[in-house]
Amino acid sequence: MNKTFPLLCLALFLFTACGKQVPMVQKLAPLPEQATCTIAILPFLNESSYPQGGDIVGRIFLSELAASGHFKVLQEGDVQTIYKQLLIYPNRLPIRKQLKMIGGRLNADLLVSGIVQKMYQRDKGNFVDTELTFILPLYNAGTGELLWLTYHRRLGAEYQQFMHIGRIKTITALARRMSQEIITDWLNQGMLPCTE
């Protein structure tokens, strides 16, 4: 998995770099049937120059996933405890065996990790420029198998409708909006919410 993962990310980036601005989901394997309710968010990796970029996007994504009301999102503290017990660095993606153990310990259905590739907010006087690019690998918590790979890239200016109306002016707002877009897209693509 470790050898193919960068290639998959590259392929996803190449196919989507000039594409439309919706989250691009590459489905590598089908989601487990009737088992996509309980989700654990793993620590996001930060490859951008924005301080705490991985923490910010990861926690906003967790917050939005919980706020959507469709999924049972597990406590971040539980994930961190298992990371400590399994001696996994938060700045590394766990290997398949470790993913399986994390899933088993948390009784999760799905695991979501993340890699923040580009993140910035620049104040240019009259307006603020924001950009965020990240990739979300979605794993089967029971097997550690990589199921979906979601790539999303957005500029705050892309939401501008008239004059400066609609333009996203903070990186947090952009991360939040993009997280909502991804969650909506996942649901549209067939991810089943909790039934209860």
């Binding site: 910010i56 539980d78 065996k97 899933g103 088993g104 009784n107 603020v128 939040r176």
Partner: protein, 492 residues
Amino acid sequence: MLSLLSVMLMTCIFLPSGGLQAQTIAFFPLLDLTVDNNGINNPISERVRQELIKSRKDLVPAADIMRFLVRNRIRSLASLNSYQISLVQKELGADQVLQGIIYQVAGGEHPILCLSLQLTQSSDSKIIWSQTVNISYADQTSLLGINDPHSLEQLYPAVFTELLAEFPEAEATASTTGRSLNVDSVYIHPKYLRPGEKLFCTIKTHKSADEEGEEPQLFIESAGKQYPLSPTEESNSFETSWTAVQEAGSYPVRLIARWPSGATQDGAIGSYSVDDKEPGVRIILLGKEIDGRVHFNNKLVIIPKLINPEPISHWEISVTDEDDEIIVLQSNVGHIPRNLTWRGQTSQGASSPPGEYFITFKVWDRAERESTALAAVQYMPEQPEIIVEIRRDEEQLLVDLDTISDTPLSFWWAKFFTEDGKLLKLAQGTELPSSVELDIDSDSRQKVECILSARDVLGNQYKKDINDLFKITEGELEEVETSIETEWVEEF
């Protein structure tokens, strides 16, 4: 009076139903990611607390929260785990836990505040509400610039209105009595072992927050078999051991908890690997092979190679002399080195005498399976010795050259000069003995100088300068100059 009655009636109608009641909330200080990944922001935390109190929320006193954090050694904010949340309920009597994170904050003329709050039900650690708010001065700018925020204080009303707009008024306490096991640590040892070896597993759990005090029966499941865990002397600690299967492979280890009520919980807690194959190792010596034996003069490159490549736990190399005495010993953990160089010295740095040495290279894989490679090598650092004998004929001077070294020569040459520097003869070859004839007048007493040079196949260089060959014939000891070449010399 009528209006008072109508207000009382309305109050009765909109009172919460019997199942819903005011919840006690444990509000923890906000994590401030703008400081670092474990920063704290007391002013904004206090501000949120005041807003919650204003909204008539029943909060656990801030001092109690601080004491709780200290007592339970909780050093990171906004990341309580399920066990810690259960402690919040047990120790602080809180029904809900409110944690929050500040993502962006800036004061001054251009204020920004982005934060999120997350409400968790302490009975089952379920996140029941989450809200993120991101407001900046740019979002609040009006067309005419009236009432635009120019400080963080002026941004607060908009932030808190949006943040707490959908804060749950009351939440029914979870009636679930589902059991859960809080695993503190898992220790499976060894992780890599040979078929039939014994494995040990120790599990520590947090104290059960279960009110009824039912303790589950714990089992380890691996390779299709279950092994019961028994309590150790240490509280909340359990252990078991079992024998590894014979077949090589990686085997997951699962923990199963069975409560008397019939509830079960199981999950993967680790794995171990059975290794039934030795790594196998061989060594390649980069020296000169003579008669099937490897020779070297100043440095020997040793290349270890695994026959069945696999991760290596540690390795060791030793050099023993003909008396079986170890003169070099080196070891290290981790994978084998790409190559090693031995310069004919002992571990203490002393030069070893010429002779035969034995190099042993050992590797151990993660299951401590050992593989050994052994090779012999001849250390020959000595320069080749050339013996010169002179015989005088009537018209000739015969120079016999021979060597006493066993190491074959790569080349040799001899130059003979008259006293006035004229080259009399140049002789060369690759094998000795050899004889050189010099045509000189036997009556002449002119000096004949000889320069001899030779190099063996190992690179050992020899040079000899004989000032007067006739003195050798007369039995006089000739002062000769012998040196190992360290700089460029004339060669043919």
